[in-house]
């Protein structure tokens, strides 16, 4: 079993020839842990210790765990605030709570068994209603699966600060509460509403922010406050400047490069915002940025966690630690999470990320351990390799989009019977583009990968121009692809943006052929007076 061009260590491949589980399986059989459905704190502790041992054998590198037992009501609270233990006050979280409560109490929806937060220590909420087998499953899933994903995956490593997120939320909450006291709840709500509308396009995709502690954050905030305001005043000064020799009229385009992070642009360049309003925009942007990796790794994250709760508990069972009855309950929950209804079923609501992710990680293991001829052709670099190294590598270096395009195998496409449907509004009917056959594998895989691409999901809207010399109109351009229009509420978003910007805002649609067409314009009149007062103030400054 050795492959040409195999980039992983050959000795691993030979080792796996002798024993299927060379390093990870335990040899001795342990004694069965207490069974029964009631959990106690002692039991949770014991199970956690055993799970931790197995997780370590499989090389799962995690943050320290903080397991918190909560009630259903507290779980609904956690839902309402994106799972965060603390968050700023805003009506949208109340709305979310009420709707969760409604569906939960009427039995339309069960609550999650757990919520886990990307923080260090990694906080996992466990529901008190769970039985002991469920608690064990959830601990393996959240505290070792998700936790190691948070710590290992490149997107989380790059974009989120597990060490400081709780601190940042504390800062955000107290800052916003402070603003409400100073400027009134209505004013603060107005700004937050507007910023929330831009939150999904308030993300840096490439730049990476540095790490900072709470104290530094506070100090910097003060600094920013004075600095940014000064800068903005400078930028928008209307008094003719005395020209020095060699000075030239400002002629280039502003911004010099198109800016995709709308919220960032508003925070830095909106001429009329007060410094506290800029700080609010920053807070909303920061939190949007924090959740950005989660939106891109749903399949992987859930798949990884599911793969590990399954593998860890199965290993414990094989080691003789778990009773049959215990394992039955675990498997029952496990399989119900993995249900994937067919597209024509009444229960179908898209591809189940748990099912797809779990199947993919399991399939990677299969490709390594028992590759078929086809797998050698499709995955020459991993077929027959060390599965553990391969899954860790995949977990660390991919997001849903690239993970699928790299690892979705023909076998899985067949297992799921995936097919690609092309829906073009210029045609009378939809067309099946590709199915699970030799001709279609690549097309299906590409289409599925694109389906998880955020660039594909979120419209591509960028700030391209500010009319610096004229009426300060802010121009956005929407680069359309495949003629996909914006959803109709873009007009409301534009109103919010206009309010933040303080002057006219304009949205252009740029077609694939480069044609530009103005889609919408919002003009604000009622802020004019405030502008003048402020300009005068700016002019009087020495």
């Amino acid at each position: 079993m050795s492959i040409e061009g195999h980039d992983q260590s050959g000795d691993m491949a030979t080792a796996s020839d002798h024993e299927p589980e060379p390093t990870y399986g335990a040899k001795e059989r342990g004694t069965i842990l207490p069974t029964g459905s009631e959990w106690t704190f002692e039991l949770i502790e014991r199970y956690d210790q055993e799970i931790a041992k197995v997780a370590e054998r499989y090389g799962l590198d995690t943050y320290r765990n903080q397991i918190e037992i909560i009630s259903a009501e507290q779980m609904m609270d956690a839902y309402a605030s994106n799972g965060m233990p603390i968050n700023y006050t805003h009506w949208t979280f109340g709305k979310r709570f009420l709707s969760t409560e409604q569906t939960y109490k009427r039995g339309h929806m069960g609550l999650a068994y757990e919520i886990v937060i990307n923080s260090n220590p990694c906080i996992a909420y466990l529901m008190e209603e769970n039985t002991m087998p469920m608690q064990a499953l959830v601990i393996a899933h959240a505290c070792y699966g998700h936790n190691s994903f948070f710590k290992g995956n490149y997107l989380f490593r790059t974009w989120t600060h597990a060490d400081s997120i709780i601190d940042y939320l504390v800062f955000a909450k107290s800052y916003i509460a402070d603003c409400e006291r100073r400027y009134g709840g209505k004013e603060v709500e107005r700004v937050l509403d507007a910023c929330h509308a831009l939150q999904n396009l308030g993300v840096d995709r490439y730049k990476r922010p540095p790490r900072r502690s709470f104290a530094q954050e506070q100090a910097r905030q003060k600094e920013r406050e004075s600095y940014v305001q000064a800068q903005v005043n400078e930028l928008w000064r209307t008094l003719p400047q005395i020209k020095h020799d060699g000075d030239e009229e400002f002629e280039g385009n502003f911004p010099p490069e198109p800016e995709e992070n709308l919220l960032y642009f508003v925070e830095k360049h909106a001429p009329l915002l007060d410094s506290w309003q800029r700080e609010l925009a920053r807070i909303v942007r920061k939190l949007g940025q924090y959740f950005y990796p989660q939106r891109q790794t749903q399949v992987m994250n859930e798949g990884w966690a599911t793969f590990w709760h399954y593998t860890i508990l199965q290993t414990m069972y094989d080691d003789g630690l778990l009773a049959d009855s215990f394992m039955f309950e675990v498997l029952h929950s496990h399989t119900s999470v993995l249900t994937q209804p067919r597209f024509d079923s009444q229960y179908f609501s898209g591809i189940n990320p748990y099912a797809l992710g779990f199947a993919m990680f399991k399939d990677i293991r299969r490709i390594c351990e028992a590759p078929a001829e086809e797998d050698y052709r499709w995955f020459p670099d991993i077929a027959g390799g060390d599965w553990l190294k391969t899954v860790h590598y995949a977990m660390r270096n991919f997001k849903d989009e690239s993970f699928i395009s790299q690892y979705l195998s023909p076998k899985l496409i067949r297992d799921f019977r995936l097919f690609c449907l092309i829906d073009d509004d210029q045609d009378a009917k939809m067309r099946v583009g590709a199915i699970h056959d030799d001709a279609g594998y690549r097309a299906v895989r590409d289409a599925l990968s694109r389906q998880y691409s955020l660039a594909e999901r979120d419209p591509d809207i960028q700030v391209t121009h500010v009319d610096m010399t004229g009426d300060r109109t802010l121009t956005l351009q929407h680069y359309t692809r495949d003629r996909k229009p914006l959803s109709p509420d873009y007009k409301d978003v534009m109103k919010h943006l206009a309010w933040l910007w303080g002057f006219k805002v304009k949205l252009d649609a740029v077609g694939e052929d480069g044609t530009i067409q103005t889609l919408h314009e919002v003009t604000l009149e009622n802020r004019k007076r405030r502008v003048d007062a402020r300009q005068i103030a700016a002019m009087r400054r020495p």
Binding site: T89, F97, Q340, C420, D425
Partner: protein
Amino acid sequence: MSDIIDRRDNPRHKSAVNQQRFLKRYRNQVREAVARAISGRKIAETDRDASISIPARDLAEPTFGHGRGGKRSIVLPGNKEYVAGDELPRPSGGQGQGSGKGGASNEGEGEDEFRFRLSREEFLDFFFEGMELPDLIKTQLAAIPQQKSVRAGFKTNGTPTNLAIIRTMRESLGRRIALAAPHKFRLRELEEELFRLETQDDPDQASIAELIAECEHLRARILAVPFIDDFDLRYNNRVMQPKPIAQAVMFCIMDVSGSMDENRKDLAKRFFILLHLFLTRHYERIELVFIRHHTAAKVVDEEEFFHSTESGGTIVSSALELALEEIKERFPQDQWNIYVAQASDGDNWDSDSPKCKELLLKEILPRVQYYSYVEIETEQPQSLWLQYEEAKGAAPNLALGRIRTRSDIYPVLRELFSKKLLAVVA
């Protein structure tokens, strides 16, 4: 390894403040929804939590996202018969769009209504903003539910102060008898045997000693039965029961003569509901008495009150007399807070109206907390109204209002129960 923390005792409703923000922001929509919800309920059923729905588009949080249209490819699982190139009709209603993500682009399309549950308190708060009844001294007590502790048998655990000694001793005695009985029987047998052996001519000393030893052993066993044991203990069980210290009776008086059509009755019902709701806010227990009248008055149940029709003339004083009788017989005023709500289209025999005023001023008003009267859908104030208006000068606990449409009810009630009135009364 891991830290395990029990958070179940931490404060719940962390998002309560957010909920309040939400209700405050959408106050108008919620108020309308509450009004809609109330019209479909019975008077006494109104005082519950309620599922409320408001149009989802009012609450939408807009974001930039993709809308329908253009060209897109969707990957779906569970292909059965399709091969590449097959064409299939586009499902109506936008099915098959679900690409596994919720949110982002489908905002505003999904549900038309945003449904949520208002607790009873929140629900009622929406109704009674700014309203207060006069004479709230008694009612203030009732607003805080008072409880008293009531005996409810015995239980096997509790605090030492609640130990039920007699019960415990009874248990103890029973247990001692039961546990010692086999030993006692055996002991008696052995003692008889011993006596027999000892009184024999040639006593067998060895067996006697053996028997004595066994007797000693049995006596020890009997003594070892504890005098009192954990499971003998019985405690007095007490449960807390709400203590109805304030009770009220509400008389609903309505004219059902031919001139009261369905629309007028509907308006009257809304008026009664609101008063009843307000009372439930302040009283533990509320009796409802429905009195309908045309030329003669009758006490009826709610169904009959609202739904059967009569024809004929109108003598209002018949209803007032009946109410007075009921008050005297069944609702002594030292035990009951009495409220009367009367609805009528104002029609009355001309000579009867002064009589009504007399009855009201001399007999009824001194006995009741509050008397409210609405005149429904009249062009001109009728004779009854005029008489009542005169009475009003002399009686601070009489309130009057004239309503024409549904939307008038609420403002009228507001006026009836407004704090302003309270201030005047005080």
